[in-house]
Symmetry: D2
Subunit: 338 residues, 4 copies
């Protein structure tokens, strides 16, 4: 049952049920002497927080991060950093009717089958609430490799889709992380109507990563694409992952891709080559629909908020691999382009 | 650099370069008292072996498995099982011209940047040859859970695509693992012409898994979809992974999927629910094209052979998770459907 | 720097500096459906707490455990259990004079050399205070295997030594965990005089374990003796570990031990054989001596309190190995004595 | 059952039963570009090999190392290095009478209880033969840190004991690794008489390590003393481990050790301080005694040969921790004495 840790050197362990006392993360393997800034962390958390936009759940979680260990005089000590956020606004009673209801596509029934017990007040560890700990860990990963930029945006929500993917790394993402003003308005209207009807929608997120050092990824099982894939697919509702041309590779011929360095999405042989890493992620529609969704406490679509989680997971993976490769730095010939 | 192990309890470690002495695998955590059958193992290896069909490389690898440890009187001992296959037909000289050539989309250059050295005779660990060790491990995983069936087939090669996915679990896969006789002939002709032209093609593989016990997968990071994703994305050339409706979830609404139990591909909340697990994998076209590919020693398309690798990796993941869950069997209430 | 996790299936991660906000532990891999009792946990913590006896430091730590996750309606959920204790009585100013002093045998200087930074208010992670998290984890390990009994006592403090080791598993340990009334009084007097003089003393702890299932321990590296050894040697000040006859094996001949089943201390070939497991542990004198020790805030001897930590670590190791072996239970022939 | 791997970054996996086809090791995480020398490796193996001295078993194992992977043109590739030695001189029939005999202190019975099956031809994984793989791995660890010197010697065999421990790091160890000529002759005579009588003897090994970088060891569980302890206690017959003054700490007072930097054996707070690391290890007498031992195929004492194994394990632990610390080198202030 021990599946709540991730990473080899930069190793995070998350904990907390959606309606328990707290959610949090222990980050072991964080370098010492990094400067911690509480406001920056809060800013990251706000990007994931509910209630920031009318398309989201009206449930306002007050995600106040509290430092339990690992930081002294605003510097990391090299010891485990532990941060928690309290669940202050639980209102468990709202969920009472769900006690014996199993939502399809959700973990209610599988949780009960696996553990023989379930925190019926909410999704427990299967809730999207769990991802707050990932965003915290992502903030600290960012301190390790400040030059690393992981930038995600939405390319599709239900029937609405970007006509062309943006070419720049950091495009304007607008109100709900869609890099197109007119599409943004269409999606907002669509999601508002979803909320009214108790409907929900899936979508696709694109992630562009620049500043990733060359040479990261450990063949044959810990290839960078494999660990990025695992990281993303561990996010609730994520049902698809691709790198570079992804599923378009299905119809592409060798002659169509070998001359296009961007086709491989910055990873060759499972190792980063210094180019932009490009990923696409499919998310399914949230499972709470119909009457149950009409109390306004559910998101009709996770994508606008999940963007922060996707970026966090990318940073966590890359920083872990950065440290794994750094262990061997002194053995590389000096002319190697690390 | 230690990325050659996979699994927590059923733990495999693979080794060997494409043109070194041997390739092999150590399987640690295999239960004792399982019956080993050399012929069955050879049969599995043959499915992955080159030279079995005219659409493949004409290079004939003689994959003779040799047992180094862990088996006594045809029974597993509970100690590490080690199996190797020798590289008998290396003909390294053929590859000499490639010594200073870096094939795009391949690991040649990233390997050199990462390690500062490279076995220029071939792809080293990045070669598809590495996957022979995975097929061996998959055979042994199959001994642990005989009721588990992982069945893969090709749904697309370049422009050729199945009109409808088959509904049955074990459909006839024909000569090259395509469950449609007429498409099979089209693809064979197409790949033969690719071989003549030094062209290569990507494609998509579907994997249907039945007989997976309920309750497998360890939230939040070792969800079953996450570990299956990592396993598949660690296969050379695999650039996309999806579960259930996968990227189609992008446009599907909650009301369109919540009534369809198969939409989630047998995994809810990261935990197996006992239904068929359905995955799709995208593979890119092999990187060796043009003149370099014209010596006949390269596959124009990896998909017909990769099917055996995909099935092996699925079995490895599921058996590892089966053992992880079995550790807790005595703590489950007796009425739980494990 | 990630060395704060222990265990494979029953996996604990501890955090917290001696003078930071909190100390705590995340226990991942705890079975679901176990009944939690806060009072029992507090009782365990009290055994380790300072200020329980006049031979200890007069510093009174109020170790109030707070449940952050993993428990609902007094039952474990199978999700990570997180428990913290706040550092309420820090009085950091007392330690200010130690800011630039490095105590020999302590981690002050090595911590600075390793991390380039140090929480100078106290021992940080090297402080004995860290062990409170181990005692918490040990309480939960005890829930998994209630029939397991790990019972430790002091056999030596400085020049005072038990004439004979007790034969029974659970002997009366008196006020300070010494199973001999007269020796207890001698040691109390001795330690009181140590306190007055700013002196400190080392000693030896014996640990008797009964109720350990047969067949635990994973050759060749995770032998039960090896993992017990690592667990004990990770305790601050522990400098020696032995199993069975231990260092007496140095002079014993084969004919002197082969007829005595107890010589091997319950472990043969690294695997538990069902007999009593018997360990001995050497602890060095605490490093704070002389003037620095005269403020009354330091223990002259860690042994009376460390007994609870030793028992906790034993339970943690054995429960982890119990789960590792349980994963294979269904593959054992039914006549095997598991 | 997966306990055959050791290390986090420098990660070894060993395999092979004493009477199976081969024994060997996969070393994953070895830096690239190291120069391999087969003769040097053979020299190391010879130090552990039986039949080198009349006090040993007369069984001559021909330990010819064969490179299966990871080395190309005498350089490591950064890929897993696999080396095997064949079991050429098995003579299994000699062991037939032992088929249903369980030797006390040996793993025969516990192996059967744990796995439900046993390779009755010999000790299987519990045999000292297993340690050949550790010596191979130790040779490669030595390539990573050439300045590291781990030097072991015997301080006691049965009733024979060094009067004083040598002060120099590399003393003359004579024929059987005892740094005293007269004691050497006494022990040789003693062990010859043991051989004649079917008797066996235990003893104590001292290990001096110099050249260990400062700052190695990862609190709180992966302290250097803890990982060295685990490594040594995983060696067959090792029943005791201590660092610095070890069990003598039991009677020493703080004032007696705090002024003696060598008391702590080079490790403070679980972290190496740059001084000599000093360990002592207790080994029990081999379990095969009496009639069964009279065929001349058993060692009356493992210590003369185990010295090479002890050194290998020390190097393996330290190199692993060296790489773990090296991952953080760029984050240390430049004035830190790493």
């Amino acid at each position: 049952m021990s599946g709540n840790s991730f990473g080899q050197l930069f190793k995070i362990t998350t904990f907390g049920e959606s309606h328990g006392n707290s959610l949090g993360v222990v980050i072991d393997g964080l370098p010492a002497n990094l400067t911690f800034n509480l406001d920056d962390l809060k800013k990251e958390l706000k990007r994931r927080a509910p209630g920031q936009h009318k398309v989201h759940t009206s449930r306002a979680e007050d995600d106040h991060p509290e430092v339990l260990s690992g930081i002294f005089e605003n510097k990391t000590l090299g010891t485990p950093v532990t941060i928690i956020v309290r669940n202050t606004n639980q209102k468990s009673q709202d969920y009472e009717p769900l006690k014996s209801q199993y939502r399809p596509g959700h973990a209610d029934q599988t949780t009960l089958m696996k553990y023989g017990i379930r925190d019926y007040r909410g999704g427990g560890r299967a809730s999207g609430r769990e991802t707050v700990a990932r965003v915290i860990a992502g903030y600290f990963a960012g301190l390790v490799l400040p030059q690393l930029s992981a930038y995600a945006y939405i390319s599709q929500v239900g029937p609405f889709k970007l006509a062309n993917l943006p070419k720049d790394h950091k495009v304007d993402r607008g109100e709900i992380n869609i890099p197109d003003a007119s599409l943004t308005q269409q999606v907002i209207s669509f999601l508002e109507s979803c909320k009214e009807k108790g409907e929900s929608a899936g979508g696709i997120v694109c992630l562009s990563i620049v500043g990733c050092p060359i040479g990261l990824g450990e063949p044959v099982f810990d290839k960078l694409k494999a660990d990025l894939g695992k990281a993303m697919l561990s996010i609730p509702a994520c049902a698809g992952f691709s790198v570079g041309k992804g599923f378009d590779f299905g119809h592409l011929l060798g002659s169509q891709v070998s001359g296009d360095p961007s086709a491989f999405g910055g990873i060759e042989g499972g190792i980063s080559n210094g180019s932009e890493i490009f990923l696409q992620l499919a998310f399914k529609a949230t499972s709470t629909i119909g009457e149950k969704a009409l109390n306004g406490r559910h998101d009709p679509c996770v994508l606008p908020r999940v963007v922060a989680v996707v970026e966090a997971m990318a940073k966590i993976v890359i920083v872990d691999h950065f440290l794994r490769q750094a262990a061997y730095a002194s053995f590389l010939p000096s002319n190697t382009s690390q």
